[in-house]
Amino acid sequence: MVTQLIVGVEGADVRNYLTFILNGKTQRVDNIAGDMTLLKWLRDQKSLVGSKEGCAEGDCGACTVAIVKTDDSGNLIWRSVNACIVFMGMLEGCAVITVEGLNGPDGELHPCQKALIDFHGSQCGFCTPGFVMSLFTAWSNKHGLMAEDIDDTLAGNLCRCTGYRPIVEAGLSLKNSKQPQWELDRNEILKKELLEINSSEPVEITDGKNSFSIPTNHEDFSKTYADQPSATIVSGATDIGLWVTKQNRDLPNMIWTGRVKEFNKIDEQDDFIIIRPAVTHQEAMAKLGNKWPTIKALWKRFGSVQVRNSGTVCGNLANGSPIGDLPPALIALESLIELTNKNKKRKLPLEEFFIEYGRQDRHAGEYVSGIFVPNKPGDNFRCYKLSKRFDQDISAVMMGANLIVEKTKITMAKICFGGMAGTPKRATEVEKALLGQPFEPQSFIKASKNINKDFDPLTDVRGSADYRRKAAQNLVMKYGYELTGSFVPNLADRNQVENLVS
């Protein structure tokens, strides 16, 4: 077979086919549309119909598959993702495991599959392959099968039949099981196979109509984007995937941040923690979560494991959404956003990035190259998210708040809301009313009235304007009570609620 090469920027050789591993077999895929999703490819081209489509928007988990990479020390890293919104190009250099790829050499079922059978975890069975894959990924990562985290592991999988109890019990039963020898052996082989296909070559695939570029270093990325400023930058595709599957949008050129080496980093530098464009929510949570437990709790309610395994922090800012969860939190922490245009870099306070609904301070040719989060303690930093359902739901109202108290007086307050305006927006009147006030509930109660001066929210399916206003006021109050000592358990956190059960 002749390897075709097309000449990319600056004459660099760009490979025009993808290499990845599917259920243990190396695949070479060329001549494929840049917007082809993994789910469609599996079902239509590979006749692997075990992965189901329940929504085509990342919400139901019926399409869950595992994507495997190795980390710097060569260990396997397993990620569950929603195949319905993964583009084929995002598989470059990885292994994909679908529900059909789990059983052992003699066809025996995997322990995760057996457990679901034993606990009567399937009824209609349509959601089941997705649950199997979520459990399997947790099992392979050896994390996520304990009582305190099983709900999180399964939050991205909807089941309409069982009511979940048997599935949870199946999951919990696995924590004591051992990986069979054949699985250990298979994983060793997988490591080798991944090593074999490992490369830092840039790739670009296309079917002649829709292309997907995969640069592998920052310089390459900059150049590719500068050459095609109308191309769509793709990070986790947890938004862009839906443009394709739900809005039928045509995206002729896409450029992916995911394999750019420099983009896959979280650095600490000059009192900042810097999150680069390819860093997923799950990775960021692991790093920042322990520093600020409140943001970890928020992240746990951000989408689902599958969404967080794909979606990026920078994507959550770059998309300019007024209901994104991270902007209010990161603005309260006084973060900066970095924008790059080829070699020109600039930084601005994150709040200034959001100009109005649908418009950000991002010039043509610029991309988000990092978010700078001040590396300082945040004892008074809190995040509150209100939504119809606790898990895997978009906020109706989201509040990020931080303040400094000096000698019983409030000397700094940063309170930012999502869902209250066309952009994530600070409640400056509330902040003003807090400044200089004694650190006691009464100050917060008084200040919360100013929500009405700060915001004139909209009514939509997630909440009425009235509800948003009242809830926002009450959140300021709740924040005050919580900081000053009358803790109200957060019902979102099942573990906090457990002791209320009689």
């Binding site: 919400d59 399937s122 089941t128 999180d152 399916v461 709740k478 609620v497 209320l500």
Partner: protein
Amino acid sequence: MKDTDGSAKEGTVHKAIRHDSAHKHVSGAAKYVDDIAVPPNTLQILLGQSKFAHAKILSMDLSQVENFPGVIKVLTAADIPGINDCSPFAGDDPIFAENVVSYLGQSVFAVVAEDIKIARNAIELADIRYEELPAVITIDQALETGNVLGPPAVIECGEADQALDKSKNKLEGKIILGGQEHFYLEGQAAYAFAGEDTDIVVHCSTQHPTEIQHKVAMALGLSNHDVTVITRRMGGGFGGKESQGNLPAIVAALAAKLTGRPAKIIYDRDDDFILTGKRHDFQISYKVGFEDNGLINSVIVDQAMRCGMSWDLSEAIAARAMCHAENSYFIKNMRITSHRLKTNTQSNTAFRGFGGPQGIVGMERVIDHVAYHLNIDPLLVRERNFYPHKTSTEYGKTPYGQTVHDCVIQDIISELKKTSNYFERRQSIEKFNKNNDFLKRGIALTPVKFGISFNASFLNQAGALLHVYNDGSVYLNHGGTEMGQGLNTKIAQIVANEFKLPLNKIKITATSTGKVPNTSATAASSGSDLNGMAAKNAAEKIKSRMAEYLAAEAQIKPNEVSFEDGKVLVGANDYNFSDAVKRCYMGRISLSATGFYSTPKVHWNPKTLKGRPFYYFAYGAACSEVVVDLLTGENRILRTDILHDVGKSLNPAIDIGQIEGGYVQGAGWLTTEELVWDDRGRLLTHAPSTYKIPACSDRPLDFRVKLFSEGENCEETIHRSKAVGEPPLMLGTSVLMALSHALQAVNARKAYPNLNAPATPERLLMQSLQLGGPSV
């Protein structure tokens, strides 16, 4: 619960046996319609939908769609050789709208294309001109304008008005209940291909293959025998695939017939939401008269239900809502009036409980309100009003005239209130609420009585087909469909039990109209009651033929032949089952039989709305405890205890699964699942991003479910079991009532919290604020 393998020795009924497809579910090998390997020339279909809720079609130019490369055909009403209707019976649901569109999203035409992307791109080129007409969207608008499908239906017993007048205490109130999207994980799906002559085969995700067969034949101008409909399994149904599969199946069949190529239609999630009917939303107004001790003398209820643009199954749903308006309570004087409202929205349809849930929640609201008014525990009011127990000397009669002679709700409640520690917990909760300003807890224990059988008596029939092949293997087919409820497992258990064979000797096969004809929908919870009996009947026929032959051979009496433990005992000989079968085969004995069953005793007059529509009642109760954050309206189910009567369970593992799943689905309906239409009739919540069914962490933190151990059907149902599909959904009522209890603690019982459903955080916060709950 331990899974047993159902070996012949231990018997196969009343055992916790896993779902027959479980190993295929977990390995991705279970095939659904969209998973069937199809020939490469298979076409994909997409429906063109109305952009208005109510409008005249002035003109329709689809030429650009038709000319789009890759489009093979465009289908409109003019292409239908037979009748342009996909309704279950009323004839008012066009396959493709002609002249007028009646809801936003209605099917107007279809694009048949080489692939779905082509269809999606092409469909945008349709040029349809409309003239908008006034649309009726909400219940209030329909009530105001008198837009109804038919005149109000009334059921009355006793003297409701006089008894109300004479009562010492009187109350009035109203509760609004939202609808519910089925959200079966697998959307509507059909795949059709033409055969020889005029034959058409349709694979369809449906609860009602027979109806699809008939509707396809009607639309294509064929006879029923030309059409074969096959259903292996559904990825969930919940009533949403009782009549809603007709449209896609007909369109697929039409496309296959007109193009000569196989054709497939799979609704994506948005289309499924926007095209199909849902659970009816209701407004229930009530007047109740009662004594100081909680005894209810009279209840007058008005049930206003949004039916959508056509009848669909609304008449029967209204009847069931009326027949459950008294729940488990013997109300001597009662009048129930049902307003079947016509609106320019999706035609609402069957959904697990079929109107029963709305009826029951309405009555539980009445009880809750009465108890609040008297300031006594609602459970005491409930207990005061139950139907007399089955051992009583005098039975109660329902408003529709059926004597309730099997009531066991007292036994269930007395056990559940002990095991759930209800009274103590209620006390400690009230103490907690006094000491907490922001968090309020609530608890409620509510009963369910649910009538089993189709209201329309003629539907209560079923058939089965059983072959014993000459190697002793058994091929089982019946008229029911498998949607996850474990019907096939249960029926296989029943047949295995007849022959005393291990379960793996029974092959379960796809439902097909070619094998069992004229079936009813798998609905009304009746799947195993009806089909189980029919399958048993078929097995008995073969058994008795075998016994007769083998007895004659051995010169003994047929009743001296017995089937045991995989063997057939014939006098001194014991044959392996397969040897016995072989002997019968050599003796030219028919080893194939059809079975049939029709439910005895039931009758129903649809004009007077009186009779004995139900063969028996299923009972159950749930005790739910919740906590609400008054600052945000957020809430959680803390603990749930359920005791449910499934008679003598055919399969406890499957039954528990139905109960848990039903409860969580019912709780979802009443809490997070909110459907929102804008004022032009556009459904805004049409995907899981905006429509929130319960997720994993929404199940109760502490979830204890038990089967009522004394359960045994007084009627001669299949192995004395009781139906379990629908009744548990209504156990979710306890969550709404527990939330009401929590809100009663706001501002020290200032006023009765008129809590509507779904009780979203928003609704709870706003209700709390109205009662004077904490705010600035």
